[in-house]
């Protein structure tokens, strides 16, 4: 079975595929490699702080005590605008309270135990999400590259007329140009649904600063928050007059009583300690792709309703599904392992794509020694950089300067490979002694 594209169309598609691939290859490789590593975000956090208190569940009363303890610890500073309680889950069985200024783990009784230390996992997430750049630039760049994976996928399919006939052909042990081509094509073909799912969801998230800003400018007078309100819900009017500490106990009890099939994993206090405060509980719905549903409560725990991410409009459900579908956290460890394997495959597809271009260039007689060396340097440098930052986390601690370490190792690897590719003095002398062709 072959796809019926003309020879000319196939050639043009390869040309387009090469052009897009060459422009994007370096950052695309970095995004794919870091994305593969960040699938284990929760597991990395546990690894980073092995002594943090863990529990399978926590009593609502202990959550309330934890909130009161954290707010009491901040009495002398500026009041937090939001307070997040991460409830224990299967992947991250810890209760962590985060405010505008701190994040702490609490124990099963609600006592503050230790500050949260997960700087490496956060670094890795930021590397993938925004290339460690300011969000507006980094996320947009990553979103643009996500969209380009879509373009590469389409052009790759058109450029591959024997897509089905060769679907199981992998001549890996030839260890030559054909093997490289087979690795690229076979892994790309079989990861096609995965690549489309993660690139479309990634581009949707990353391009928010472009598409969301355009939407806000066209329909909401430039207010991005207002553009998202119909989807994720609205923030009620602020009332900064003083109020009591909100009571999450009845809200959590309500969830257990009325929604026993969902799993609350976040309690969010908006403007705690003010008259305008309110509570939101985010609960995971088993066997759904949505990250959860928002359950709204008043400060004294009276139920106000849901936003509609689980059963609202198609658009709401779709947008709530993008995060889990992108990061692979919707089916426990088996799905995470699948995402790691397919993410690695996609990373290999990007790496081999450039090697195929270099092979072709060399077959045409164009020497590509330095280009090849630089690409090898990057292919090795990105994982080496991530490994170096992990070693730094273990050796130096939470305050290690991850960003400079990563880039120094990464670019250092490129420099080393370029240096190794330079002809030695003796070889240069030999070459200059040869008669000119």
């Amino acid at each position: 079975m072959t796809l019926a594209f003309s020879k000319e169309m196939v050639r043009k598609a390869i040309s387009a595929h090469s052009a897009v691939g060459l422009i994007c290859c370096a950052l695309l490789y970095l995004i794919c490699a870091s994305g593969t590593a960040i699938v284990l975000y929760e597991e990395w956090q546990r690894f980073e702080q092995l002594d943090a208190p863990e529990m399978n569940e926590i009593e609502p009363g202990s959550v309330q005590r934890g909130i009161e303890n954290v707010l009491a610890s901040e009495e002398s500073g500026p009041a937090t605008t939001h307070l997040y309680v991460h409830l224990p889950t299967k992947d991250l069985p810890r209760t962590t309270i985060t405010t505008d200024t701190q994040a702490v783990h609490i124990d099963g009784q609600g006592d503050i135990v230790v500050p949260e230390e997960n700087a490496w996992a956060e670094f890795l997430l930021a590397l993938h999400y925004r290339l460690n750049l300011p969000a507006v630039f980094g996320m947009t760049l990553v979103g643009l590259f996500g969209a380009m994976i879509v373009a590469l996928t389409i052009s790759g399919v058109v450029a591959h007329p024997r897509i089905f006939r060769d679907a199981f052909r992998l001549r890996a042990r030839r260890a030559d140009d054909v093997a490289t081509l087979d690795w690229h094509n076979r892994l790309a073909v079989w990861t096609l649904p995965f690549a489309l799912a993660i690139s479309l969801t990634g581009a949707m998230i990353g391009l928010f600063y472009v598409s969301g800003s355009a939407l806000a400018a066209a329909a909401y007078g430039g207010d991005s928050g207002a553009a998202l309100a119909p989807v994720f819900g609205d923030e009620p009017e602020e009332d900064t007059a003083s109020g009591p500490i909100p009571n999450v106990v009845p809200a959590l009890a309500f969830m257990e009583r009325e929604y026993p099939d969902v799993e609350p994993y976040y309690v969010i206090l908006h403007d705690p300690g003010t008259a305008g405060q309110h509570i939101q509980i985010v609960a995971e719905h088993p066997r759904r792709l949505i990250f959860g549903e928002y359950y709204g409560f008043s400060a004294d725990g009276a139920f106000r309703g849901t936003v509609g991410l689980a059963d609202g409009t198609v658009g709401q459900q779709l947008s709530a599904s993008t995060y889990n579908l992108h990061f692979g956290n919707f089916g426990g460890l088996p799905v995470k392992i699948a995402y790691i394997v397919f993410g690695l495959a996609l990373t290999i597809v990007v790496a081999t794509g450039t090697f195929i271009w270099l092979d072709k260039r060399e077959r045409r007689g164009k020497v590509s020694t330095r280009l090849r060396a630089a690409w090898w340097g990057l292919v090795v440098g990105v994982p080496a950089g991530m490994a170096a930052t992990l070693i730094a986390r273990i050796a130096i601690g939470n305050a290690a300067p991850f960003v400079p370490i990563f880039w120094i190792v990464c670019l250092g690897a490129v420099a080393i490979w370029l240096f190794r590719a330079m002809p030695s003095r003796r070889n240069r002398a030999k070459e200059s002694a040869l008669p000119a062709e």
Binding site: I154, H160, R287, V341
Partner: protein, 192 residues
């Protein structure tokens, strides 16, 4: 649980579909009944998954298909290479550069397929929103349509533009899409 059993059935169908296709595509001559059986297995896997657990189930079934294919590829990768080798690597890539024009400016191509095509895609996405809201759709659906349309339209447009050789054709498509979509920017209507 019945749901669990049905999801396992879906995964089994997905794996079986891949195995049958592997057998079919490995034959010197393709077998239509085997091909149909393989595709039917994959289709049945998706249908069962959808009926059991909706979009979550479909995602799991697709991951199972990919996983099964990777196992088949792992076996293929361990097969010894044939001794005889072609002198030249014969691939569809050969001659790809023959279609490239030497005089084309990469910078102009980048400008057309990059920022210009992206801008046209954003306008198209806003047009989609206006049409959805205008047809009685919800504001949430319209807004999400904008966020979802840009990452689809822009890469498709970029690919289509790169397949064209004439600058006029490239600019015509980008400008055409932009001009057709632009009036809808004024029909957003603010919050509904």
């Amino acid at each position: 649980m019945a749901g669990d059993a049905l999801m396992w059935l879906s995964i089994t169908l997905a794996v079986a579909g891949v195995v049958v296709l592997r057998v079919s595509w490995g034959k010197p001559k393709r077998s239509t009944p085997l091909n149909l059986a393989g595709w039917a297995g994959l289709l049945a896997a998706v249908v069962v998954a959808d009926r059991t657990a909706g979009e979550w189930g479909i995602t799991i079934a697709v991951l199972a298909v990919t996983g099964a294919a990777f196992v088949a590829l792992a076996f293929a990768a361990t097969k010894p290479a044939r001794q005889a080798r072609a002198r030249l690597v014969r691939t569809s890539h050969q001659g790809a550069d023959e279609t490239q024009s030497r005089s084309r400016s990469g910078l102009v191509t980048f400008a057309i397929t990059g920022p210009l095509a992206l801008a046209a895609s954003v306008l198209a996405a806003l047009a989609v929103r206006a049409l959805i809201v205008g047809a009685g759709g919800t504001e949430a659906d319209g807004n999400v349509a904008v966020l979802a349309t840009v990452p689809i339209v822009w890469p498709v447009l970029t690919f289509a533009l790169l397949m064209m050789w004439g600058r006029k054709a490239q600019l015509g498509w980008v400008m055409g899409l932009a001009v057709l979509s632009a009036p809808f920017v004024f029909l957003q209507g603010g919050p509904v």
